[in-house]
Symmetry: C2
Subunit: 359 residues, 2 copies
């Protein structure tokens, strides 16, 4: 079977320019060629990440740094803000690291309520909060600025934010918001092959890490910081992916961040328009919808697996039939990465072509 | 400056076939395309790893799994067998994970003495041993079979082996030797871009992990095992590198393992011959020399950094000028990966061309 074009919420379609960059000659990671590559990536990546601080490069998928952030920061108790598959799992992972954890659990499809965060933190004992900005499983975009503002009311409580499916697609002013760890796998909004995670740590996060025992080596924030000063990484990095990242960052700078935000907004609106025209409802409430993917509520009760399969067979496009316990009750359409109004319209026309057979 | 051809001990030169495989269309990791890719890799990789057990695929460099193995297995105390930069560091990493650790320290350039391992384990209290098979920093290949045999004398002591620069270049009968964790980053002997580590766990290792607290999620052996049964990985994998691995495993199977071992042996012998002809001594003692890289002792007292630089400028080849505290006292030449007798001879001719100017 030919490989379909990906409109799933990551990984997404890889551009020819990215492939070409991945195939640049291999270089050693302990020499000047690598140092040049590393430092070349920084300024653009800092702009995307809304920070003046270093952006560290972890050779892992996002879960590595999500776990690493727990191991670096949590000394007392972590509060996990849960509203979907990935944010829920963070609560589980925190406990697997031997950390004390409590959670706020929103219904899948609902955002986190900043007021509930304030109430919970007021109980005391927490030193860390985890938030998934864009919960990819439900299509919900949480109110990052309000939640960050609440967390900042509490001295010595640090905020870890996973922005895997929002990073570079919407503004994330990390420093300004007082986010202590911002992390993103590169295979969603950044449209690179998976295997690399970028992350930023605040001064407070590094300072906390210093006194956190048993944080290990591979994800030790202080090791990243130490090596960053030499334009390097603690362990052998995924060099081909860094070459691809360098190219992608340059291309994002060329497009311009404002234009990139606008493009994602408009492409996302095209999907919303198709939904309305087709009689589908949103799974996420208005005001809390991701700009990079849409979780479509299956209120028309189509056979989602069959619909996804037919789309692949007839049009060679792949969308996602829903995640975990909302499989089939939702399906998800991505507009991440390099998609254009034209490429989105092609997909949506294909969906429209098939839909009548499923109603 | 043009990028030189790499004869450093990893990463090494990437073949056009590998690049092509990396650029196969991206696929989702939670569907049948990925399951096919995953299962396609297994049989060949099991053969290379000398095991009937699954070969797990970790999206990390080797240090991730080296740390992960400590977190999964060590409940009492670990014995780290140290004889160079990487094996020494494992002792440090074990302690950073909050584990009790002791070490046997051989001089850099010397192998681990199996007798000393027996004596140390006889003191009691150890449940895990770490060994770097091929200490890449010193060019020493440790006597894996003898050390494994000693460790197996002690019930309930598990053996973790890093074979990053020997994997696929020399036979490693993992199951037969009773190795409990065998791991290898793919960027050295496997000649892939870095960012992926393959590893095997014994039944005893999985069983130990079950009762080891705080082992986390990202490197949790039981998660790898659980997902393996679905031809999948716990976290989003480095798909492009897995596509490259699939192609490389097929190419190794086509070459044949015996032929591959022979080729490495012969290419390595060419380097040894050049050393003798040029009046250089080995850093590692006879009988304990790596088959994939050679640590040349700088007994002729050449200016190593200048020699390495001249080789790059005049011939566009890169060798390594020595690691850590033996920088300049040694230099290292790799014959890993896809090198042939002809390509090695080209390098050695270039070295011969330059050497007179440095004596």
């Amino acid at each position: 079977m030919p490989k379909p074009k990906l409109f799933i919420p990551g990984p997404v379609e890889i551009s020819p320019a990215t492939y070409e960059a991945m195939c640049a000659p291999m270089i050693g990671h302990r020499g000047s060629d690598f140092e040049e590559l590393y430092s070349s990536i920084q300024p653009g990546l800092q702009q995307i990440a809304g920070t003046d601080r270093p952006v560290f490069l972890s050779t892992s998928s996002a879960w590595g740094v999500m776990e690493g952030a727990i191991r670096n920061l949590v000394q007392g108790k972590v509060l996990n803000l849960c509203c979907g598959a990935f944010s829920d799992k963070w609560f589980d992972v925190a406990q697997r690291c031997g950390k004390k954890a409590e959670k706020i659990q929103a219904e899948w499809g609902e955002p986190i309520d900043p007021g509930s965060v304030r109430n919970k933190l007021a109980e005391g004992g927490f030193d860390t909060v985890t938030l998934v900005h864009n919960e990819t499983s439900t299509g919900v975009m949480n109110p990052l600025d309000e939640i960050a503002s609440v967390v900042n009311e509490f001295e010595d409580v640090l905020l870890i934010v996973d922005s895997v499916s929002s990073f570079s697609a919407v503004p994330i002013p990390t420093d300004q918001l007082g986010v202590d760890v911002l992390l993103a796998g590169v295979q969603k909004a950044m449209a690179l092959p998976p295997g690399l995670t970028v992350f930023v740590t605040s001064e407070a996060a590094l300072s906390r890490a210093e006194s956190t025992p048993d944080r290990g080596y591979y994800f030790d924030f202080l090791e990243f910081s130490k090596n960053h000063s030499k334009n390097n990484t603690p362990s052998t990095p995924s060099i081909a992916l860094l070459q691809a990242l360098d190219s992608m960052v340059a291309s994002i700078m060329e497009e311009g961040l404002e234009e990139r935000y606008r493009r994602h907004h408009e492409n996302n609106a095209l999907v919303h328009k198709w939904m309305e025209d087709s009689g589908f409802a949103h799974f996420a409430p208005e005001g809390f919808r991701s700009k990079t993917l849409t979780a479509v509520a299956n209120n028309r009760e189509i056979d989602v697996p069959a619909f996804v399969k037919a789309l692949r067979i007839k049009h060679n496009f792949l969308i996602n039939g829903g995640y975990g316990k909302i499989k089939g009750k939702t399906f998800r359409i991505s507009n991440m990465g390099n998609e254009t109004a034209d490429s989105m319209k092609e997909l949506l026309a294909a969906l429209s072509d098939l839909l009548p057979d499923f109603l």
